[in-house]
Structures are given as structure tokens and as C-alpha cells.
Amino acid sequence: AQTVTQSQPEMSVQEAETVTLSCTYDTSESDYYLFWYKQPPSRQMILVIRQEAYKQQNATENRFSVNFQKAAKSFSLKISDSQLGDAAMYFCAWNRDDKIIFGKGTRLHILP
């Protein structure tokens, strides 16, 4: 069975600094997707970034980038130039077909 582990329940970062959120997963599949979702206090789930497992190149979306290590089954999220609006719960997720597995989340605090 697939599992997704986020080992950091909470993290804090100074505004304008860089922070990395960790995610590891376990799967025997070779083709799948990985995602980071953001949940701000409004509770709306927002897609931050997506990675296709067959692509070696790490995905980037503006200030958000991932470090995807397929062999190590690691998928960390780097947020550069942290902003107050980045404060949220971040969930890592694994997907193949109808199966979607979420990690327990990391709460990110931004310190002004």
C-alpha cells in the first residue's frame, strides 16, 4: 500500500527567507503524480505544484519549486522569498488513477 509521510508537523520561517518542507512516500508503482496542496485559514484547498514521476526535471511555479528524488522517494517543497500569505497548512499527495494518498500536513508559520 502507498503511504505519504510529512515528518514536520509545524515549521516557521522569517519573511523573505527560504524554507523547505519535507515529504517522503512509498510506492511500488513507477508512473504516478505527486502534488503539494496549500490550505490557508480560509480552508480552501489550493494546488501549489505538480510533478509527474516520469519527468526527471523538477517542477517550478514562481517562488515554489520541488526537489524530486524518485529513487529515494522524496518530494520536498521549497518556498523562496517567503511571504505572509504563504502561511498555511501544506499537504503532500501521491496519485495514480483513482488512488490519492495525502500526508498529514505541515503547518507553516511566517514570522514578520
Binding site: Y33, F35, Y37, R43, Q44, M45, L47, R50, F91, A93, N95, R96, D97, D98, I100, F102, G103, K104, G105, R107
Partner: protein, 113 residues
Amino acid sequence: NAGVTQTPKFRILKIGQSMTLQCTQDMNHNYMYWYRQDPGMGLKLIYYSVGAGITDKGEVPNGYNVSRSTTEDFPLRLELAAPSQTSVYFCASKDRVGTGELFFGEGSRLTVL
């Protein structure tokens, strides 16, 4: 472009009452999901469906029922509400093919007193 629509957004129930959370999506997605999220916690899968007429249990199905008579609608029924069902409920959908992205509704906050 509505996406995934959930109603109601807020509801207070008394113990033993029943209710239905409505979910509809206009993206013609095959897969639909119901999650619950307790305060400060992650998402727990209640039920999911891979197409009209097909439903399956997730990790916390007890006390809930679902149906999927159309591609668009996936209502969640709570029978005999209990305080343990106080939570925020999210409906989500995704396409069978494509990017794998899960599209979420805005959530429904349910309180059972």
C-alpha cells in the same frame, strides 16, 4: 466556471438527526471523493466513486452513505448524527485521465450538538 460546488457551507445538527451534504461538479470528472477534516488534522477519505453507479468505502465510512446516480452529483448522507461527526467535509473530483489534479469544493462545516 463553477468547478465543485458543495452545499450547505455550514450546518448545525442535533444528535440523532440526519442530513445530506450535496456535491456537484460541472467538469465531467469520473472520480469523486468525500473527505472529512477534523480541526488541525489532515484529510480522511470517507467514500469515493469512479463513475456513475459505482461507489466504494474509504478509511472512515461508518455513519455515512453515498450514492452516485449521475456523473455530476455525489451526495453524502449522514444518518443518526453523532458529536464525533463534527468536522469540515470536502468534496473533490478529478478526471480519469489528464494531470491527476484533484479539484476541491469549498468545504462544509458541520457541528453536531
